[in-house]
């Protein structure tokens, strides 16, 4: 039995969660489409800005700054939530409770406290480190993660920059952060870090390939690299009850989804693919020598990538924000955090793979299957003339 007999506290928790869900859903419905609201606010603000005696350039820049700070705010809050969530999920999987004290209710403020602690911590640069490379590396890891959020469609009309080459842009930019990891590994002047950096480089480069190849079938169907196009393509139902999400495309969708999910986990360097920071082998891998704010940038980047991968999975395979009743951005967040939960679940269940098996797995298993998938999808597209 999954639920043997519910104790009083369990019943209470379930009640609280249900109530929170109701309140949250109601609020979300009251707010409505966030993209629309933001546009309305912007349209309200724009004439005021234009009337002010400042050049037009300045008001445009102000708009960009607002957009960026919204994104940064979202990243910070979601990362804080994810860290707390991961700790709670892992704790409950392991028959314990996790943080319970900070902030009162189930230690909700634990991550905030940790963040403050990290900011206040002493910033150490090892003697043998190459100071500039050491300092630059965390920035180079975090900035690409942040840039990628610009093209992520959080809902209808809720996208910072609607690029024509959205998917490709994300892959290209997120691939840059491996440079930061290698720099961190080399610049720390630590043998463990260097091994971690080298492993990360090999791993990221290898898994990029099946990751990109696995979504080629989608591109064949949709015929566009624009993420909003891909998300819109998946709206609607088959036979009235199966959503036209790409994951429900028979065979092709599932193979592509699994390959994409696995290589996303590998890209974000999380268990079972966390060989770059394998704790039991390499202490902490490339970020062994980092402390304070620089370490927190790595941390932020890791979780930002986790959410980015989940959001991308949602946009590509789960129909983006499409769903009944609730506004699109809520659906997008729900689906994305569902995928994040999958990431956590993987991490707290599986052991770590070995480096050479990891490489074998991508080159000998994922790659051929993604090619097979592309062939099947091409044949289907040709046959159906979609």
């Amino acid at each position: 039995m999954i639920f043997p007999v519910l104790t009083q506290s369990q019943k209470r928790s379930i009640g609280v969660l249900a109530l929170m869900g109701l309140i949250g859903g109601g609020t979300a419905m009251a707010i409505g489409e966030l993209g629309m609201r933001l546009t309305q606010i912007w349209e309200f603000l724009l004439p005021i800005l234009q009337k002010l005696p400042i050049p037009e350039m300045a008001s445009q820049i102000a708009g960009m700054v607002i957009e960026c700070s919204l994104l940064i705010g979202f990243i910070s809050v979601s990362v804080m939530f994810m860290v707390w969530w991961e700790r709670k999920v892992s704790a409950h999987m392991q028959s314990r409770l996790g943080p319970m004290t900070t902030g009162g209710w189930h230690g909700w403020a634990q991550t905030i406290a940790d963040g403050i602690k990290l900011i206040l911590k002493e910033d150490i640069i090892p003697e043998s480190a190459n100071s500039w490379v050491h300092r630059l590396a965390p920035v180079l890891v975090f900035v690409p993660a942040f840039i990628c959020y610009a093209v992520l469609p959080f809902g209808s009309n809720l996208i910072a920059v609607n690029l024509d080459i959205g998917v490709l842009f994300i892959f290209a930019i997120s691939g840059l952060s491996v440079l930061g990891i290698v720099m961190a590994g080399w610049g720390s002047g630590n043998k463990y870090s260097m091994l971690g950096g080298l492993r990360a480089a090999a791993q990221s480069v290898s898994y990029e390939i099946p990751r990109v190849l696995s979504i080629v079938p989608i591109l064949l169907f949709v015929g566009s690299l624009k993420l909003t196009d891909i998300a819109n393509y998946q709206s609607g139902m088959w036979f009235g009850f199966i959503p036209r999400w790409f994951i429900f495309y028979p065979v092709i969708g599932q193979i592509a989804f699994i390959i994409f999910l696995i290589s996303s986990v590998a890209e974000t360097n999380r268990t079972p693919f966390d060989i770059a920071e394998a704790e039991s082998e390499l202490v902490a891998g490339f970020h062994t020598e980092y402390s304070g704010m620089k370490f927190s940038l790595f941390f932020l980047a890791e979780y930002a990538y986790v959410f980015l991968s989940s959001g991308l999975t949602t946009a590509l395979f789960l129909g983006g924000g499409s769903g009944p009743l609730l506004p699109t951005w809520v659906w997008f967040l729900l689906k994305s955090f569902g995928i994040v939960f999958l990431f956590l679940w993987f991490r707290w269940t599986f052991p770590r793979m070995r480096v050479d098996r990891l490489m074998e797995f991508t080159w000998k298993f994922l790659m051929p299957w993604s090619f097979v998938n592309i062939l099947i999808a091409g044949a289907v597209v040709l046959a159906l003339g979609v």
């Binding site: 892992s90 999987m93 039991s280 082998e281 599986f350 052991p351 770590r352 070995r354 480096v355």
Partner: protein, 376 residues
């Protein structure tokens, strides 16, 4: 190990070997062990373990302690299975004193030692999971271990350094209702083994990490004097509980699991099976627990006659032996501890060569050392 770097001429370029210090402060050396590794990329070309960071001079301490006092020190050798250490010291001294322990005392000792074997192997299971990168089995194993420690706490008053098995018997008889609690624990842990098998034993990633890694051949195992689950993992059925029974082990029915080829997975698997066998032994001992007093009559001041004794038993990590020389005083003249972890670790420098860096932790974990016992 020579610390200079050796250049290996490649086909068209040159690479350098690297000296990597694994430990003494490292997450997976299970204490303060240092292994100096010479690596070529990720492949190990030479390895040299360096021990002694936890050396407390047990054998010297023994020469300055009376026999009962030494029992307290024995808790600290292999702190994960202190009951075995207590027992072996008592066996060695009882041999010198020529004391026969009553049957109830022997059964109580068997129950405690076997429960402690489960606890010790649970720690192995959990930490091995962490070595391989799975964190959840660790806390699941510790959850079960806590229950065993609760049982020990009730019976001896301490959770790790029990000092329970005494010369001539045990510290005190079982408290009330202890047998019921022990039985309910045994019922609790049986379904957990199934989960362990799912989480690690049969997990394909785990198998991939451990099978065909760190193979110890039968001949090597014997010539390096490997004992315990490491030896049985090689396929040699050698268990002192069967071969040279002590404490009435001949009364109990249990199997001695053996591996096939002596790789990490076999050593791991043998330990998992041993936990199941220990559960069987404890159940039988509880079923047939004799009545009576557990303690033999022991003189107030223990002063064994001149002589020497060598006692050995099957501890969770292998053959734990005590060589005790008595000069007829109340303190031993010379004590030598044959620590299984220390001798099992000798083979590490041989089997690490040619393996990958990621395998070091898998192999080191599978040998299952306790540094308290290695360094003594």
């Amino acid at each position: 190990m020579a610390t200079e770097l050796i250049r290996i001429p490649g086909s068209d370029f040159q690479t350098e070997e690297m000296i990597l210090n694994l430990g003494p402060q490292h997450p997976s050396t299970h204490g303060v062990l240092r292994v100096v590794l010479k690596i070529d990329g990720e492949v190990i070309t030479a390895a040299q373990p360096d021990v002694g960071y936890l050396h407390r001079g047990t054998e010297k301490l023994a020469e300055n302690r009376t026999y009962p006092q030494m029992l307290v020190i024995s808790d600290r050798w292999d702190y994960l299975s202190a009951m075995s250490n207590n027992l072996i010291w008592c066996l060695a001294v009882e041999k010198l004193l020529q004391i026969e322990v009553p049957l109830r005392g022997d059964y109580l000792r068997v129950i405690m030692v076997e429960l402690n074997r489960i606890a010790s192997h649970l720690v192995f299971f959990g930490t091995y999971g962490i070595d391989i990168g799975a964190y959840t089995p660790f806390l699941h194993a510790f959850r079960e271990r806590e229950k065993i420690l609760d049982l020990f706490e009730e019976v001896s008053g301490a959770r790790m350094t029990y000092n329970y098995i005494r010369i001539g018997g045990v510290m005190a008889d079982l408290p009330e209702d202890w047998i019921g609690k022990c039985r309910s624990f045994l019922e609790w842990i049986k379904p957990r083994f199934v989960e362990y098998d799912i989480l690690l034993t049969e997990n394909p990633i785990f198998k991939d990490r451990t099978q065909n890694i760190g193979i110890i051949s039968k001949e090597d195992a014997i010539s390096y004097a490997i004992t315990g689950p490491n030896l049985r993992g090689c396929g040699i059925s050698f268990d002192l509980r069967k071969d040279e029974p002590y404490c009435h082990y001949q009364d109990f029915k249990f199997d001695v699991p053996t591996g096939k080829q002596g790789d990490c997975w076999d050593r791991y698997w043998v330990r998992i099976q041993e936990m199941k066998e220990s559960v069987k032994i404890v159940e039988q001992a509880l079923d047939h627990l004799p009545t009576g007093v557990p303690n033999a009559k022991v003189p107030r001041i223990i002063r064994p006659p001149v002589g020497e004794s060598y006692a050995q038993l099957e501890a969770p990590r292998g053959v734990l032996g005590i060589y005790c020389l008595s000069a007829g005083e109340d303190k031993p003249y010379r004590v030598h501890v044959r620590a299984p972890s220390f001798i099992n670790l000798t083979i590490l420098q041989k089997i690490l060569v040619g393996m990958k860096l990621a395998d070091v932790v898998a192999i080191l974990g599978s040998i299952d050392i306790v540094l308290g016992e290695v360094d003594r």
